[in-house]
Amino acid sequence: MKPSPGTRNSSSTAKAQYYFCGIDIGGTFTDCVVRDNHGRLTIAKALSTPHDSSEGFFNALTAAAEKMGITLTDLLSKTRHLMHGTTLGTNALLERKGAKTGLITTRGHADAIIMMRSVGRSAGLPIHRLHHVSRHQKPDPIVPRSLICEVSERMDWSGEVVLPLNEEETRQAVRHLVDSGVGAIGICFLWGFVNPAHELAVKRIVQQMAPDMYVTCGHELVAKPGEYERIAAVAINCFIGPLMSRYLHKIEEKARDFGYRRPLVIMQASGGVAGAEDVADRPLFTIGSGPAGGLTACGFLAKQLGHRNVLASDVGGTSFDVGLIHEGQPLSTSQSTINQYTFSVPHLDIESIGSGGGSLIWVDERSGTLKVGPESAGSNPGPVCYGHGGQRPTVTDANLVLGYYDPNYFLGGKLTLDKPAAHAALERVGRELGMTAIEAAAGAIRIVEFQMAELMRQMSVQRGLDPREFVVYSYGGAAGAHAATYARELGVTTVVVPLGSTASTWSALGVQAADLIHVYEKAELMIAPFNAARINEIFSALEKKGRAQLRKDGIASKDIFLERHVEMKFKLQIHLVEVPVREGKLTARHLAALQNDFVEKYERTHGRGSAFTGAGTEIGLFRVVARGRMERPAVSEYQRQHTAKAVQSRSVYWPQKNGFRNTPIYDASSLKAGHVVRGPAIIQMPETTLVVPPFAHGGFDKFGNIVLRLTD
């Protein structure tokens, strides 16, 4: 097999003993990354098969096996972990193609999910839609009123039973839902997460009356106050549950046929993986797992490169996603909004704006200004230069006419770009403003790079972090064109385009780089001074659950790591701060130190002088993150197939030089590790194109990452 520039061939003679496979299903391609026990990576792609995603799944694996010169059975029978990221659940929700779902909730409170705390009319809308009130609308309900049943029962905030569950009403409710033909039933009571007895009793009744019914209880998904966010989680979980569990079983069965013996593990939005069996019960946790894969891959690489603080940016066709790694940990948050529904689930904190290669460049006639995005040309028709019928210019078209992209070497030459058409489209837009096509293109690039930098700035500053202390990681198809400029805008001095050749399968790499993660939470309001005995009791109960689950997942004791956290706040204040808690038995002295840690972290996050120490301190939530370390050989060094220094040149636009300059073009395969390219220059790879502006220099490191240093 002819090694491509993307094949890692160190220790190429050593035979692989076992493998780790990551498969990520995207809109167009299903990506597969295989790593062997020597850290060698093999990358393969297959077309996604939306009618039955499992086909694309196995096609991509087969393609990888072929690349490695082995059979699929060879590959899977020697695979330690088969790891998978899927947006099937997300898509089913967005397209409203899930199960007919029924809900059972506390009498008097069926409307929690209908009211959506009022904010459902505008939750998650971008600013231009937020401002247009007359267009605000709540989404069609996931569960209509007629399928939300109320039953008499009541707990209070402490878990005390105020009214026992009325079983007669429960049976009537289940009968009604079954007769209505629901495919899933969600059970969510007020305070059910403090005392789950009633939810469990209803679950038993459902299982008696409809043994094959898909059932989810609120306390199984979310353990904190907020009935709307909890019942929304239950409803979404039920909606996508039957579909996801069928899909996962199908893949697991087929993998078994090819000799895979261990459990299939699935990427979650938390950045960790979980067993398929577990995920079939809680598919909600996969919503948002796509971008989480990318951030997880960054975390994996950052550890290897020794970067503690990373601003990770994914520049795709339609969106620009940003996540943060601070002090070696990807930052998480606990609320998600999808389709205007907000639900509580711990997940990696990733924000997104509509700026990407496909973002449309247009003129706002009223103000006579140039605009970029948020509307996108999408994949159909796509940019003008693709020649698929697009008439409106995009960021990709601008990159082409400015000379950043080579019309004959886009996606490694798979697509020939129509430069005259892109030029003409930009000319049309520019004419409205008295600009040339080049001016319009350069202006659009300036605007879009500024938008990207502003999002990254906002995300770091809002979390009390200084972007100048970060390294920017940039991946996704359009990353290389813009990374250096938006990073410099932030005052960042180092940019990494990770593992150049894997940039386009980055999420799949993240999937197979993830640990098993289970998060256990217990909400209980405690007011300082804290009761050490009670806290020890809570943590040991949560840890017991975590340890048991990881053992069940097949993780050895030495690979089990338990992290403790509490969410703390000041009385009369709203900000919750997550504070890490030491392991072992806690004493009053530890808890006093915990309060100090809280104040320190509060002020670091919210500003000096913001701590309202006079009000008293509260703990609202206890959390244990149970992490099962997966075996993970480091990425091997990258012995590049070094050809002679093949430098071409072409005319490229540099705003810093106010025009086009003849610029050296490097083929990535011509560059050895350590070879320094000084801007202005372009480095071309099959998957992406790296723009090295005049203020930057850099090249490949020994792992195959491109590292740029930026100067003033």
């Binding site: 009211m115 009319r121 247009h132 007629s146 009214l163 009223r366 006579g368 502003e454 709203i574 002088g609």
Partner: protein, 777 residues
């Protein structure tokens, strides 16, 4: 120039009119066309002549983000649930003259006060103590720069090379600033001296240093000085962050380029605003609302009017017809302008990032002093935001809608909407000992789940919040139960609470709770629209009224124990209902009582009989509308399987329309040629005929009257008890002694319901539509 105020010719109407000084002392501050600023303060006014469209886009984006970061800084440091959930704050960026550049996406009615505060400060503080780099000013004076005393504005000049380049500022609601009642509002207040004190602008930060003397003076008045100190720091930090970021922009892009970008934002918004105005004929449109009870002993209703006149490129707002200031019902003109501007933004600047200055340049305000909406010092004003201001937002929204309905631009007509939900905030403040035995005092935030109004093309949004707060968020039941000693029996949307109509108003919600792990809770209330429902639009029906109920002897707990069921509606409880007045205090809730609250839904749009029967059926089946009310107001007939009986429905509707026409004036019927007509209301066409301009029914084209007449006088009118307006309206005599009635104005020929009105017997029908013939296009 921006916000101008003129005195009406002949107003005030007393015999010997004293000269009115609009200086923020006795009468509210109204900035003059040219500010009188001490010459020692030099303003940076030079804007670059050339501004390339790319730099503009980049600077615009950056300035918006300055504002975002300003707001986030306040929320972060304050940590107050008031800003996080109540959104009772907003950051802004103003130019060197105090005109708005950007205003944040939170409470919109705060816009006018901050601009007013900045202008007053430039006029009154530029000589002494002077305005310098690093200074920050503070005010809560409702006659100068606040909606009420609890909203404290901080604003800072941004200097560039010895010149005042621009201002950054914010306003944030404070927990308590002293006065006779915790939280600052006393329903018994007879004047401002019962309330938190007014602070005209003071220089709280001098050249970067917080003045310790002034800070202590400020905090000394509060019952919770530590919280107020924290919020003061949050507001200061917001100003500092915004100022530094603006300076960064000036250093990078040049002051003249940034100034040119500010001007362009304002100019672009103005251009769009004027373009929109030009699609509308000149004319006058108006709306009235009623507020009951000026204090807990009072049993009368008072009138709040918003009158909107369009004259060329000007919009003039007046409060003509508004009752004299009274009890606790008042607001100052400073807040009133902001209330009006918030709906101008929502309905006319939705695509201009709410750059309100574009509109302000073409808005004039013409209030009559010493009225409910133009209070003269020392009237009590601390309840203004909950009462008169909110109602003014609702009324302004309707008056603007009536104007937009006459536009030739369909996009603008799609902004036409009926009355927003909860048009006065149902304050339900409660206090006592919590479940942990410590004192608590707070108020219910559930009613922020208001409702959005019926539009000219679709139904309102049930529990959709308000149009002037883009992200209204109700607290969860569990959050309330965790912090307060209460147990909710129910909280749900209230069927039929939205006004009926061709497009119905959004439904509001109702809740009930019992004391839990405490012996007694004490309430005070403040709101309106308990006795009289809010208005509605173009034949739409009004929404429900707001209702506070104390179910005495409900014994919910005993019922649970004996029946095993959770009582989930009033009739499932024992005892009797006591309706609390819209102004009441120290009302106890004992152990076995249930407290209930439901708030006014949003108004309906258009004749309910024009509603698609399939939509009515859908509403019934989805629990949005009851079958009983649907039968009465929509005349819908369903068979036993809930299938629509189209024939019976049509017959019932026809019969209903005939009843509406029973009192029709017996003038001769003529129809107009619809080709020569344009729609000016859902039910009215303006047509050119040989006899001049006339108004005609949009359904049957029957001529109703000359365009210059009040069409209501020529419609078939039918008076109904106000309890017929919505099934949730109680007999007003539960609250007031005044008589009110619900009147329908219908086409005399076909019975199309053109407009409804709530009025007292003997009141003249409101003339709410007057189009200047000569300018109508």
């Amino acid at each position: 120039m921006a916000v101008q105020t003129k005195t009406k010719p002949g107003a005030p109407k007393s015999a010997a009119p004293p000269a009115i000084q609009w200086d923020g002392r006795t009468y509210p501050y109204c900035p003059p066309a040219r500010l009188n600023i001490d010459p020692s303060l030099r303003l940076h006014s030079k804007a670059a002549k050339q501004l390339d469209p790319v730099t503009f886009e980049v600077v615009r984006h950056a300035m918006w983000n300055v504002n975002v970061e300003h707001g986030n800084t306040i929320m972060k440091i304050s940590g107050s649930p008031i800003c996080a959930y109540g959104h009772d704050f907003n950051p802004c960026l103003l130019d060197e003259k105090g005109d708005f550049v950007f205003f944040g996406p939170f409470l919109q009615y705060l816009s006018s006060p901050i601009g007013s505060a900045v202008k007053w400060t430039m006029e009154n503080r530029s000589a002494n103590p002077g305005i310098h780099d690093g200074d920050i000013f503070l005010t809560n004076d409702p006659w100068i720069g606040s909606t009420h005393q609890s909203d404290v504005a901080l604003f800072a000049p941004v200097f560039w090379k010895d010149e005042l380049f621009c201002w950054v500022g914010n306003s944030l609601h404070q927990w308590d600033l002293g006065g006779t009642s915790p939280g600052g509002f006393n329903p018994q207040a007879v004047d401002v001296y019962w309330e938190s004190g007014c602070i005209p602008p003071i220089k709280i930060v001098e050249k970067g240093v917080l003045r310790r003397d002034l800070e202590e003076e400020y905090l000394r008045r509060s019952r919770v000085p530590q919280l107020v100190a924290l919020d003061l720091r949050a507001e200061m930090a917001g100003c500092n962050v915004a100022r530094e970021r603006i300076r960064g922009l000036l250093a990078r892009y040049g002051a003249e380029t940034v100034k040119a970008s500010m001007r362009k934002l304002q100019d672009d918004s103005e251009k769009v605003f004027v373009e929109r105005l030009r699609t509308i004929p000149d004319g006058t449109w108006s709306e009235i609302g009623w507020i009951e009870m000026a204090n807990p002993q009072d049993r009368h209703i008072y009138r709040n009017c918003v009158v909107l006149t369009k004259n060329g490129d000007k919009l003039i707002f007046s409060n003509e017809g508004t009752d004299p200031q009274s009890g606790t019902l008042n607001c100052t003109t400073v807040g009133w302008k902001g209330a009006i501007a918030s709906m101008i933004c929502a309905q006319m600047l939705f695509d201009q990032m709410f750059v309100v200055e574009g509109a302000y340049r073409h808005m004039e305000f013409d209030p009559t002093p010493s009225t409910l909406t133009c209070a003269t010092f020392p009237a009590a004003v601390s309840a203004a935001p909950a009462l008169t201001l909110l109602q003014t937002i609702a009324l302004a929204g309707i008056a603007i809608s009536k104007m937009l309905a006459c536009s030739s631009d369909p996009a603008l007509r799609s902004e036409v909407q009926s009355c927003m939900g909860a048009p006065m905030y149902p304050v339900a403040a409660f206090s006592g000992l919590d479940q942990r035995g410590t004192p608590f005092a707070s108020f219910l935030l559930d009613p922020v789940g208001a409702a959005l109004a019926g539009l000219s093309w679709r139904d309102g949004v049930d529990t959709g919040g308000w149009p002037w707060d883009l992200q209204s968020t109700m607290p969860n039941v569990e959050e309330h139960e965790l912090f307060y000693p209460i147990l909710y029996l129910w909280r749900r949307e209230l069927a039929d609470s939205g006004g009926a109509g061709k497009f119905r108003g959004g439904n509001s919600a109702e809740l009930a709770f019992i004391p839990h792990k405490t012996d007694r809770i004490s309430f005070f209330t403040a709101t309106g629209h308990c006795a009289v429902p809010p208005p509605s639009l173009f034949g739409g029906y009004p929404s429900s009224t707001t209702r506070y109920t104390m179910r005495r002897g409900a014994h919910a707990r005993d019922l649970m124990a004996t029946t095993g069921k959770l009582p989930d509606h009033t009739n499932a409880l024992r005892g009797h209902s006591e309706y609390l007045a819209p102004k009441s205090f120290n009302v106890p809730q004992e152990k076995d009582d249930a407290f209930m609250l439901s708030w006014a839904g949003a108004g309906g749009y258009g004749d309910p009989l024009e509603r698609d029967p399939a939509s009515v059926r859908h509403d019934i089946l989805s629990g949005v509308c009851t079958h009983d009310w649907a039968t009465r107001v929509y005349c819908i007939v369903l068979d036993a399987d809930n299938n629509l009986n189209a024939e019976a429905t049509a017959a019932l509707r026809a019969d209903h329309r005939r009843q509406r026409c029973a009192n029709a004036p017996s003038s001769p019927r003529r129809t107009i040629d619809a080709q020569n007509a344009r729609q000016v209301q859902e039910g009215l066409l303006l047509a050119a005929t040989a006899r001049g301009k006339v108004l005609a029914c949009s359904k049957c084209h029957t001529e109703i009257c000359a365009a210059s007449d009040n069409y209501k006088l020529h419609c078939a009118s039918l008076d109904l008890p106000v309890t017929d307006a919505n099934p949730h309206v109680l007999d007003p005599h539960n609250y007031i002694d005044d008589e009110v009635l619900f009147r329908l104005y219908s086409c005399p020929a076909c019975g199309l319901l053109i407009q409804t009105e709530i009025l007292r017997p003997g009141d003249e029908p409101l003339a709410d539509l007057h189009i200047e013939e000569r300018r109508a296009r």
